[in-house]
């Protein structure tokens, strides 16, 4: 049996690669214990997020949003076994590609985000680190903070986070990327306008922003 390799140590979970999980290449997402939290709170958070993440990944796929296939779930061990997705984080791709490619990529991301929201799923951590680009498609990963919600509020929070990430990390192309994202989002989600308006409102709720 081949050994597991730690391929990413996220803030919340370790991502392990199993080169031969019953004959396929698989990712094991393991939510490690957080020593800064008391064990009781920590266990409750890790267990509920594991179960929720697996079930939402499945629902997203049903809605037409590419996500990893789920092979197995272990709530008490806070582990999910899932498909290994070939590709690269969008965060690392953005600054390397040209404007046309960037626009195409972010329109595609916007379209999938619209489908996701249309299926009643709020991602909860919609950043460019949590979308993989590869093989001509974008795959949404890390649904650890996702929730089933049709609330315009949750949608607005997702959009606000995406925009904020574009500002903090992709500050050279923020507006350009968001315009493309928005075009895709509006194409697949009927209530896009409402969610985008809410995003504006949420961004103004942050401390000390300009209010008209």
């Amino acid at each position: 049996m081949e050994e597991l390799t730690l391929i990413a140590k996220g803030a919340e979970a370790d991502i392990l690669l199993d080169p031969d999980w019953n004959g396929v290449k698989a990712i094991i997402k393991r939510r490690g214990e957080k020593r800064y939290r008391i064990p009781e709170l920590d266990a409750a958070i890790r267990r509920s997020r594991t179960v929720r993440e697996a079930s939402i990944i499945h629902r997203a796929k049903e809605a037409g949003v590419p996500t990893p296939l789920i092979y197995g779930v272990d709530p008490d061990g806070a582990r999910i076994v899932m498909e290994y997705v070939e590709g690269e984080k969008v965060r690392d791709v953005v600054d390397r590609i040209g404007p046309r490619e960037r626009a195409r990529l972010f329109k595609e991301i916007g379209m999938k985000a619209g489908l996701l929201h249309g299926a009643g799923i709020a991602h909860g951590d919609l950043t460019t680190s949590n979308i993989i680009s590869g093989g001509g498609r974008v795959v949404f990963i890390d649904f650890g903070l996702a929730e089933m919600s049709e609330d315009v509020e949750s949608r607005g929070v997702d959009l606000n986070l995406m925009y904020r990430m574009l500002m903090s990390t992709h500050y050279e192309h923020t507006e350009e990327l968001f315009v493309a994202f928005k075009a895709g989002y509006e194409e697949t989600l009927g209530e896009a306008r409402e969610a985008l308006d809410r995003m504006d409102e949420i961004s103004k709720r942050g401390r000390y922003v300009e209010r008209e």
Binding site: K9, G10, A11, E12, K34, R35, Y36, R37, I38, E40, L41, I45, G124, D125, L126, T127, S129, L145, V157, D158, N160, L161, R164, M167, S168, Y171, I202, R205, G206, R207, Y208, V209, E210, R211
Partner: protein, 334 residues
């Protein structure tokens, strides 16, 4: 050549309930850091009452700061003041004093962003060079780090500040002022975790639901105050820990700075220490006199700004109660 000339700056801080006067020199020494606090007779900070307090003690606080620094007003090279963000009436009182002094002494004025000042004094006091900073107080809850000319905000509260949540609960529960230390003391006696809303939205936090829930739990009479304080602290600080850890992983910074008044809490310090260790980052904790709202941080940031050529003419010295951290250019680090 310019470095041979050591300049002296007075900093005036008056964003909320503290009036602070500090004196910093351009070689990085802090000569004075005098803080006076307005303690409300009841309820939270009333901006107008706080401003009245600041105006009343302005003169004596200034004398005390100059005496403590062993200088006279004539030794000052420029005046820095907290221009925002914060409570309008309080800010205005400090700004008015700063303008009057600058005009009287015929020296330049430098408007400083309060949040930037918290980070800069933290860097000076701890020696951290390029930290990810968690800045937590009664008015602010921000995870920030320097990237491309500014302090970028990676996470922040979407409603009330964590310190505000703790203070308001402690008042509801009839605990003595200040609220944070009172909750911390009682929490040590508690140990049963009460289920409370743990609200992390992406990189942002929300504390208003937690405040409502813990207040309702208190009023229900079902729980001991010790367990309520214990649970409130664990949930409120774990939320901070989570967002801080994620930002640390995202930015890859090697230092983690805890600052702001809530940074005095030992439980939060332990969490930050644990997170830093986990990620191989060096934790640093700002000493309380520099972590709470103070004048030294304004004076020191005034020095940094002045030496980068920043001046604030009187006609552009109006306060900005909503001046966001991430809108400030930080040329001294670029």
């Amino acid at each position: 050549m310019a470095d041979l000339v050591v300049e002296t700056c007075l900093g005036i801080e008056s964003t909320a309930d503290n009036l602070g006067m500090g004196v910093a020199r351009s070689d990085g020494t802090i000569l004075a850091n005098v803080i006076t606090t307005h303690v409300p007779e009841e309820g939270g900070i009333h901006p107008r009452e706080a401003a009245r307090h600041h105006a009343e003690v302005m003169g004596e606080t200034l004398s005390e700061a100059l005496d403590s620094a062993g200088i006279t007003a004539r030794d000052l090279d420029y005046i820095a003041f907290s221009q925002g963000p914060g409570m309008g009436p309080s800010l205005r009182t400090g700004a008015t004093a700063a303008r009057a002094l600058a005009v009287r002494l015929g020296i330049p004025l430098v408007g400083v962003n309060h949040c930037v000042a918290h980070i800069e004094i933290g860097r000076l006091a701890t020696g951290a060079e390029d930290p990810l900073a968690l800045y937590v107080s009664g008015g602010n809850t921000i995870v920030t780090g320097f990237e491309a000319g500014r302090y970028r905000i990676f996470g922040e509260t979407l409603d009330i500040a964590v310190g505000n949540c703790l203070d308001t609960f402690s008042r509801e529960a009839g605990l003595p002022y200040p609220g944070g230390p009172a909750v911390e003391r009682l929490a040590l006696e508690g140990g049963t975790l009460i289920s409370l809303p743990y609200v992390v939205k992406g990189m942002d936090l929300s504390y208003s639901g937690l405040l409502t829930a813990v207040t309702q739990a208190y009023r229900s009479g079902k729980w001991s105050l010790e367990d309520l304080c214990f649970s409130l602290q664990e949930v409120a600080y774990s939320m901070l820990g989570e967002v801080t850890e994620r930002a640390l992983a995202h930015t890859g910074k090697r230092e983690l700075l805890l600052t702001g008044g809530v940074g005095a809490n030992k439980r939060l310090r332990a969490m930050i220490g644990s997170i830093a260790e986990e990620h191989g980052a060096a934790p640093s904790f700002v000493p309380i006199g520099y972590a709470t709202d103070n004048g030294a941080m304004i004076a020191w940031t005034g020095v940094l700004a002045f030496r980068s050529g920043i001046r604030t003419p009187i006609d552009r010295s109006h306060i900005d109660p909503r001046w966001r951290l991430d809108r400030v250019e930080v040329p001294w680090r670029s």
